[in-house]
Symmetry: C2
Subunit: 494 residues, 2 copies
């Protein structure tokens, strides 16, 4: 038996190394590679993905898994790894390996094409590859024997237990509460934002972003901050966690909030227990829990008055202009409700409506109700219906997000789940910590330590449900989120 | 036979893919990786180097080589590949694979240690690993059965036909001619440089560096420019060639000349014929020829009056301050002779003396005459003897170059060879092109095309000697270089 466990660990180590290498190639592709390099990088990514696939579907590996599963006295970590691997293998083994490779190459290539299409506002050049990506995703689910409700199966992959029925209900509730609130606010429209719109050079924004990252507790010795068209977090391993942001010279707070958001993801990855490092449990429990961390830092922390009170007093570098503004002006500026076209620039209140647009579109394509070629129009219609705004170009409409080009169909709802979880978590944290005081004094370490202790260190050792139960005593419950939004925005717009 | 050739091409393709991946990991390590990532990256580099090693020393590969070698009617490219592979294998197969892997891991790790040592001016923390690197290099040569004159064998690896005897003679000659000239100039010392020392932000320097790169003909669609402690060029493949430079805010020309130097290397790599892309002939003929291209662009082109006449007239972005300077002021500023501590900041005249210091030290360590622990003193003594300057810290002395930490023992003389070749090449080019006119009119394309036609496109298909003979009609001949230096500097310092 010991021999089996040893071989199991070796094979896992090999898989982890391939995955780290894939992460590095992906990182390079999105942050530095010249156009001429896309082809080779895509090929390499395809080959490595195939190797990773072959490894976990090899007969030797499957045999070892079966053997280990029979053992009674196996340690908790290995047990959980086997459980997750079996789930993964069940999903993967039904996919012909050649198709898996084609799909990996396709998504690697798609990002270059998406970037170009977005730059040139040319949806048509992206449509064929987008269609292929959706088709692959559909086909992969069908290989499991699933015929109806493909989307529920996809949602369940991202967040175990989630399905269309639950999410339909959740968005319905959100719509019912937020739309009237948004209507009230629109009637009472104010230009809080103009105070916080000023020119700051990319260079200074970078300095401030790094300063804020350190301030919230992200370890820059074990991570970097770079730039990309769409901010993301990518983990090589827990000692090398990479974030990107993007700098808009006229909107100096945009990069700060992107950075804080990715910093929330990054601290989760950095905070995983050392003993999980060489296991497949070394990252976040689910996309929803991951987003709860990023949205917690971005909104609950980052858009609070107390946080900026601390930043102004404690951080070493900040924009010169900030000293001319009152705390109230900053607070209202970063919390103005103003339905926007771009999701990543959206205010906290309307954010989930952006998610809803994407949710409904994914659902419609996968059910066959919508056609890819009609997406620009469908997108624009929904934006008008829910947010009252219409994109002038597809670059600020259907082409704005990187997700679909990466194959991340079904990811968007995680952002909304993350919002809901983050407020449940805040509610629990309040029982242990005087959060407002900690923020005002710039003591963000207490908050990160609490999250690390309760959530981060477990990685995938616990399920999302187990985490939410142990931390908050409840499963998904939107009530805190909705109450928080109502209170916060009624107060700001009195 | 066709089957053999097909299998040979497959294995070469695999080797090329591993090498490209190694290049990407190396690039990441030196430009972006956080400290926490060094360990895993070094391990990965070690493993991939081992795979590359195992591939070209596998029985299957060696058998195919032997078979192919017997064939008469094999194409010219494959023939040359076999020739080079056999040379490489002869050298490599005597090294035990475990040692090869250890060495690769060592040099990967050494760069982080060197960088830290340089930053903290702490030679002692670097000395043990430097000693190991020299020992490995010595041992690897000894495995070939070479006992005496290890250094000649190393020099010959970089530039076929080179040895200590030839280089001793060459440096002797250079010393004889340059030292008196330098003495004259020192007596007539002038501060030309103060005119071109002004503050320019890193951001603007980056813009100008990119502009100059495009101006000389480097293709930024098939390459990138980034930053690192020590500028270098790294090729993923001919469509993805990566350069770095470094920005010193008070010396705005420093980054420009580093960029032009690396651009010369980069254009060589980008200019290799398409048909060599998937072969092992796809990079430069030798280090000496490679340096001839970088030094040609940096000095012969970049430090000429005509080049700056063209730049001032034609390039879209330049430092504001440049318009306040006369062409003569710029020309004298960038050509002031002022013995410096740092090789990469050295003027054209004293540059080869910096190389001589390193040459003599490498020779001394390998012969056992010098000990690693004494290097700081030996370095400083030689700097004083040849250049009349003494480093105040090891960071600006023995710790200044990245080369040794990468395992590049024996590389430095290539810079001096490159200088000599570059003037031989200029002399040949003059017969075909009105170079001064082309530079003044900003038509640098003609120059790159000439070099591409005569040198770049051949990659390693020709030997350095064949290239020099076909382009200039002569082998190494320092007379043009020495004459050029004498004329140029007598003129500047009349």
């Amino acid at each position: 038996m010991e021999g089996k466990i040893k071989r199991f660990r070796e094979m896992i180590k090999e898989k982890k190394t391939i995955d780290s290498m894939l992460a590095l190639l992906q990182w390079d592709l999105e942050t530095q590679a010249p156009k001429g390099g896309y082809k080779l990088l895509s090929e390499m990514i395809g080959e490595l993905s195939l190797r990773s696939y072959n490894l976990t579907t090899s007969e030797e590996f499957l045999e070892i898994l079966t053997e280990l599963k029979k053992q009674k006295n196996i340690d908790e970590i290995t047990k959980r790894e086997i459980e997750l691997l079996e789930e993964e293998i069940e999903k993967i083994k039904v996919i012909p390996s050649e198709e898996y490779k084609l799909y990996s190459e396709l998504t690697a290539k798609a990002q270059g094409i998406w970037e170009m299409a977005r730059e040139k506002n040319d949806f048509e050049s992206f449509a064929p590859i987008l269609e292929q990506i959706f088709n692959f995703n559909k086909k992969f689910i069908e290989y499991r024997g699933v015929k109806d409700d493909i989307y529920s199966e996809i949602l369940n992959d991202y967040e175990k237990g989630m399905n269309v029925k639950k999410l339909d209900k959740f968005f319905e509730e959100l719509k019912k509460e937020i739309v009237p609130l948004l209507k009230d606010i629109k009637e009472n429209k104010r230009d809080f934002q103009k105070k916080i719109k000023f020119q700051v050079s990319e260079f200074e924004q970078r300095l401030f972003s790094e300063e804020v990252l350190k301030y919230i507790g992200f370890d820059l010795e074990r991570g970097v901050l770079s730039e990309s068209a769409h901010p993301f977090t990518l983990t090589v391993n827990k000692d090398d966690v990479r974030l990107t942001t993007r700098y808009l010279e006229e909107l100096p707070f945009s990069s700060v909030f992107s950075t804080i958001h990715e910093g929330g993801h990054g601290m989760y990855e950095q905070g995983v227990a050392e003993e999980l490092k060489d296991t497949i449990l070394s990252d976040g429990a689910s996309m929803g829990i991951h987003e709860s961390q990023s949205r917690f830092y971005e909104n609950v922390i980052g858009r609070s008055k107390e946080f900026w009170c601390g930043v102004l007093g404690k951080s070493k570098f900040k924009y010169d202009k900030l000293s001319e503004l009152s705390l109230e002006e900053i607070y209202k500026g970063i919390n103005e409700v103003s339905p926007s076209l771009i999701r990543v620039e959206a205010d906290e209140l309307t954010y989930s409506l952006h998610v809803m647009v994407r949710y409904e579109i994914e659902k419609g394509i996968l059910s066959g109700e919508y056609l890819i070629k009609d997406l620009p129009k469908i997108w624009n219609d929904k934006m008008y219906e829910y947010l009252g705004v219409t994109p002038k170009t597809d670059s600020e409409g259907v082409l704005q997000d990187v997700h679909w080009s990466c194959g991340l169909i079904g990811y968007f709802p995680s952002y909304a789940l993350g919002n809901v979880y983050s407020l449940q978590i805040l509610n629990a944290m309040k029982k242990d910590i005087n959060i407002e005081g900690a923020l005002e004094r710039g003591e963000l370490k207490i908050i990160r330590e609490w999250l690390k202790e309760k959530i981060h260190r477990y990685g995938k050792l616990k399920t999302p449900k187990e985490i939410m139960l142990s931390v908050t005593g409840e499963e998904l419950n939107p009530v805190y989120y909705i109450e928080y939004l109502k209170n916060k925005y009624k107060n700001i717009y009195n």
